[in-house]
C-alpha cells in the first residue's frame, strides 16, 4: 500500500512536469510556416493581398521570388501601379521605389518591419522569429510575437498577418503558378 502511494505520488509528479513543459518544445514540433506549396523557393510566387486598416481596405498583388539568397518582391495594385519593391534578409528589409503617397518614414518603417517578419519568419537567423511562440490548433498554425505581431496559416492558399499595434491586417491568397486564382 505504501509503495502504491509513493508510486502514485511519483506518477503525479512526472505527469505535472509534462503538463507544465515549456512551450519551446511545442515550437520544435510544429512545422515551418511557409510550406513549399505556399511559397516555392525556385519560382515566383503571386498572392492576392488585402491590407485592412481600421478605416479602409486596400487590395493588390504581392509577388515574391528568392534571388541570390534574398527574398525580393513587389506590391502592385491590380492595374499594375507599383506600390513598392522590397528585399529582405534575416538582418534587414529594404524598401525601394515606394509610391510617393506612402513615402513617409513612419509608414515605411511599419511596412519594412512587417514585410521582414512575413518573409523571414522561418529563417533561423531571424532573431524575432526565434522569440515568437508557435501553436497549432484546428489545422491553423499561429505565430505570436510578444502580442505585437501575429501570423496565421489557414491553408496552403491563405495566410494572414496582423500588426496588433497598429491594427493592420494583411491577408494573402495564393494565385497559382498556372495563373488561375485558387480561392476568392
Amino acid at each position: 500500500m505504501r509503495y502504491l502511494v509513493i508510486n502514485s505520488i511519483f506518477l503525479l509528479f512526472f505527469a505535472s512536469c509534462t503538463l507544465s513543459k515549456p512551450l519551446v518544445s511545442k515550437e520544435k514540433q510544429t512545422p515551418l510556416f511557409w510550406t513549399q506549396e505556399l511559397r516555392d523557393d525556385t519560382q515566383r510566387n503571386d498572392f492576392r493581398i488585402t491590407i485592412s486598416t481600421p478605416t479602409a481596405n486596400i487590395t493588390g498583388i504581392f509577388m515574391v521570388k528568392k534571388i541570390e539568397g534574398k527574398w525580393k518582391g513587389s506590391i502592385i495594385n491590380e492595374f499594375g501601379i507599383k506600390v513598392l519593391d522590397f528585399e529582405t534578409t534575416a538582418k534587414k528589409c529594404k524598401l525601394l521605389n515606394v509610391l510617393s503617397f506612402i513615402d513617409k518614414w513612419y509608414i515605411k518603417n511599419t511596412f519594412a518591419s512587417d514585410i521582414q517578419f512575413i518573409m523571414e519568419i522561418d529563417n533561423p537567423n531571424f532573431s524575432f522569429g526565434s522569440k515568437a511562440i508557435k501553436s497549432f490548433t484546428n489545422n491553423i498554425l499561429t505565430i505570436n510575437y510578444k502580442n505585437k505581431k501575429e501570423f496565421r496559416r489557414f491553408s496552403n492558399e491563405k495566410i494572414e498577418f496582423i500588426n496588433l499595434k497598429y491594427s493592420l491586417i494583411y491577408t494573402f491568397t495564393k494565385i497559382d503558378t498556372n495563373n488561375k486564382i485558387l480561392t476568392n
Binding site: 515566383r44 503571386d46 492576392r48 488585402t50 479602409a56 481596405n57 487590395t59 498583388i61 509577388m63 521570388k65 534571388i67 525580393k72 518582391g73 513587389s74 502592385i76 491590380e78 492595374f79 499594375g80 501601379i81 507599383k82 519593391d85 528585399e87 525601394l96 521605389n97 509610391l99 510617393s100 503617397f101 491568397t173 494565385i175 497559382d176 495563373n179 488561375k180 486564382i181 476568392n184
Partner: protein
Amino acid sequence: MNHFIIKLVSLSFCLSLLAVNAQIPAGFKPATETQQKEMMQKISEVSTHLKTLRCDFLQKKTISILADEMIAEGKMFFKQKDKLRWEYTKPFQYEFVMNGSQLMTIAGDIKNIIDVNSNNAFREICKIIISGINGSGILDSSRFSAKFFVGTNENRVTIVPKQKELKQMFKEMSICFSKINYAVNSVEITETNGDKTVIEMKNQQINKELNDEIFSNK
C-alpha cells in the same frame, strides 16, 4: 589645345544626337508639323464620335526587381462620356467600374465605393484611363506635354504629365492609334523607376449597344 576642344565639341554633339535618337521609339519617326496637326484632328474627331467600346485586353507588366513580368487579361466596356467597366478575369478577378462621379472597385469580397469628385488623385486617374481608351484629354497642354510619332501601321503619341498627382504615378504614357480608324491599339505606361505596363486592346467592338446595367454599382 584647339584640336582637343574641337574633339570635345564633336563628341558632345554625337552624344547629344544619340540621346535624342534614344527617345524615338523603335519603328517610329517623329511626326512633321503637318502630320502632327492631322493626328491631333483625327484623335479629336474619333474621341467625339466614339459612343461605346467593348474589347478584350492583355496587360503585361515588367517587374524589374524580379526580372520578370506579370500578365493579366480581361474585358473593357466604355460608354461616353464617363462610364467605364474594367474587368480583370485572369489570373485574378477584379472590377473597376466608373459611372459618372462614382467609382467602385470589387476585389473578391471587398467592395469600395468612392466619390471621384471628393478625391483629386482619383479624378485624375479616371481622366487618364478615359484618355487611354479614346485619346481624349491627351491634347490638353495644361495637363500634358505631347510628342507625336508616325509608324507604318500605327501612329503614336507620348504624353508626359505636368500635374503633381500624375507625375507621382508615372513618368510618361504612350498611346498607339490604328492608322485606319484611329482606334487605340495599345497603351504603354512607364513608371518613374522605368518599369512598364503595356495594355493591348483586342477584338474591339465600336459603337455597338451597351446596356447601362454593366456600369451599375450593384
